[in-house]
């Protein structure tokens, strides 16, 4: 028995509803946190920060946000790219309008802004369901991108319509711009990710989370037993928008530093985040992490293996990358439609039973 939960008794309901009811899990969780906060910042370099860790952290935030909407509340959204754009542009406007304020505040405000926009586009979800809703959210995607491309106020009238993040700091440490040290950008994003994950976890284990899931599983029944669908759906959109906005803000300001809306926040972004959520596991916070890690790492790994190790031409590798990503997605769905998180759960269940097969 590698994995034990026997002998782990709870004596109160608080204990029972804590995030990691099993001691072993709790321990592992603290270990991961300790490494992330206390070890990684000292060993990080530009490549790891900019090519792997920042995108992972930032996409994980977006994935958590989208997972709340899709995985918990059952409202499929393809507007993530557009909402991230709202976060990015809001952040840009706040950064340039109030340069003296801390970056923390800018990012949070950008999240709030996105939450509002997300709620507006969430309103039709009261009537529209399923794939109709999914496609309807594309309206947000295209409209928002068009808007940010079209209205010069959003990009401060720059000639090309690009926005570039000015240098901003937190407590005197550069967070944005080319001179921000890798560890600082990493820590900044990590703090947001940790907070978002905690908040998401708290929300999903409590009342609001249950009403989201009820709406997801059977909306009519949920309403009849007393869930207010308006409130449940719109809070889901708001919370999800808040997270996605934060990730959009970080994506622009901390990670890329300059974006062009159509390119950075196009429809492919929406799909990418949705992939993360599904491959990771719908309705699982851990899954959001797993999915983000998987899809950030996979192309890098494939590239390294294909180009650097095997020495194939880059275009063949790039095409193979598409083939492999596509095939992997399908294989994953076939093997475990409920994502990496479920795979992990099943593995745990098996370990618990080990060495007996059933």
């Amino acid at each position: 028995m590698f994995y034990r939960e026997a002998g782990d008794f709870k004596t109160s309901y608080e204990q029972d509803s804590q995030t990691f009811p099993i001691k072993f899990d709790r321990f592992r969780y603290y270990a991961v946190l300790a490494i992330a906060f206390l070890v990684v910042p000292f060993v990080i370099n530009d490549y790891w920060a900019n090519a792997i860790l920042l995108p992972f952290l930032i996409y994980a935030i977006a994935a958590i946000g989208l997972n709340i909407l899709v995985g918990y509340a059952g409202q499929v959204s393809l507007g993530t790219g557009g909402f991230m754009a709202v976060g990015a542009y809001a952040c840009y406007k706040f950064m340039t309008m109030m340069p003296e304020v801390s970056m923390f505040v800018h990012v949070l405000l950008a999240g709030g802004m996105t939450a509002i926009v997300c709620v507006v586009f969430g309103l039709p979800s009261l009537r529209i369901k399923g794939f109709y809703l999914a496609v309807a959210t594309l309206a947000a995607q295209f409209f928002l991108v068009w808007l940010f491309n079209r209205v010069p106020w959003f990009y401060n009238y720059s000639a090309s319509g690009q926005i570039s993040a000015p240098e901003r700091d937190v407590f005197g440490i550069m967070i944005t711009g080319p001179n921000a040290p890798a560890w600082a950008t990493y820590m900044f994003s990590l703090i947001f990710l940790t907070l978002c994950a905690l908040v998401a976890r708290n929300l999903t284990r409590g009342t609001i989370g249950r009403s989201w899931m009820a709406i997801r599983d059977m909306d009519i029944a949920a309403e009849i037993i007393g869930v207010n669908p308006l409130k449940a759906k719109l809070t889901a959109f708001a919370v999800s928008g808040f997270f996605i906005g934060i990730s959009g803000a970080l994506f622009f300001s901390v990670y890329l530093g300059a974006v062009e809306v159509g390119e950075a926040f196009g429809i492919t972004k929406s799909f990418l985040v949705l992939f993360m959520v599904i491959i990771g596991g719908l309705g699982s916070i851990f899954g959001s992490f797993a999915g983000a890690a998987f899809l950030v790492l996979l192309p890098v790994v494939l590239k390294v293996v294909g180009v650097d190790v095997l020495g194939w031409p880059t275009d063949i590798v790039a095409h193979f990358q598409l083939v492999i990503v596509g095939a992997l997605i399908i294989v994953f769905l076939i093997v475990e439609p409920h994502g990496l998180a479920q795979l992990w759960r099943v593995a745990k269940e098996k370990l618990r039973l080990w060495p007996f097969p059933h």
Partner: protein, 269 residues
């Protein structure tokens, strides 16, 4: 009828809590309910029976506010109930179970039961996000109620199991638990015993009677097993293709020729 009476086995039945007045419900060309009136008294077990497609479930849906009748009114506590959304109806103390189990498949039994308590949980988004203060206290308090009901229905052992994995009969019981968790004044049960064997029906009957006894919950019940209906209910409404063809005590109904023709058939006991 007077304002309340005492049944043979000594339970007290109160005044009318809900009254359906001339309800008519149509779906396009189909008339599901045709000008039906009946009442439900406080503390009683009221059965609704009738052949398949008679409109029984539709009637419950009208009570729940899910279907809006074209004609007629629902009176609740002596007042006509204004048009309201189903969740508002639920918040007035009306809980129910569904004919085709409508549990939240992606959630554990415990969470399902906890959803029954949503109307009691009022903490704000912010407090919940931080899991501090009101949110946590509320969670614990309501969890206690939920656990009590779980104990009562003897489903402790599956508390953490995702409901999708449960066999049919247990799902029905979980559904009942979810409805009870709302501590309703009026409980609507749509075929709670369908798909159960006798032993399980006996258990379920026991639960229903206990709920009625211990919490004084008024119960409206749809059921096709005549044994159950006749044994449990105080009064029975009989529907047939949208019309009411009988209303009265089990004995009255049993001997009503129209009911025998339309529903019971000759061989019923």
């Amino acid at each position: 009828m007077q304002d309340g009476y005492i049944t043979e086995d000594g339970r007290k039945i109160g005044g009318v809590v809900m009254e359906m007045k001339n309800i008519t419900l149509r779906f396009g060309g189909v008339v599901a309910i045709k000008d039906i009136s009946f009442d439900i008294r406080e503390g009683e077990i009221r059965a609704i029976i009738g052949p398949n497609g008679a409109g029984k479930s539709s009637m419950l849906n009208v009570i729940s506010g899910f279907y809006v009748p074209q004609e007629g009114e629902v009176w609740f506590h002596g007042k006509p109930r204004p048009q309201m959304r189903p969740y508002e109806v639920a918040q007035q103390g009306i809980a129910r179970t569904f004919q085709n189990i409508a549990l939240f498949e992606g959630m554990s039994v415990l969470d399902n039961v906890m959803t029954g308590r949503l109307s009691y949980m009022k903490s704000g988004l912010f407090s919940q996000a931080l899991w501090k203060g009101k949110a946590e206290a509320e969670e614990v308090a309501n969890r206690e109620v939920a656990e009590k009901i779980i104990d009562f229905l003897e489903i402790q052992h599956i508390r953490k199991t995702p409901v999708a994995r449960l066999p049919y009969g247990l799902k029905k019981r979980v559904e009942l638990a979810r409805a009870l968790a709302a501590e309703p004044k009026l409980l609507l049960l749509d075929e709670p015993m369908a798909g159960m064997n006798v032993e399980e029906k006996e258990d379920m009957s026991r639960f229903i009677l206990d709920v009625n006894d211990e919490f004084g919950t008024t119960i409206a019940l749809i059921e096709h097993d005549m044994g159950v209906v006749m044994d449990l209910s105080d009064r029975v409404v009989v529907m047939d293709y949208g019309k009411k063809i009988g209303d009265g005590t089990p004995d009255e109904v049993r001997n009503n020729q129209a009911v025998i023709d339309a529903y019971l058939g000759v061989s019923s006991d």
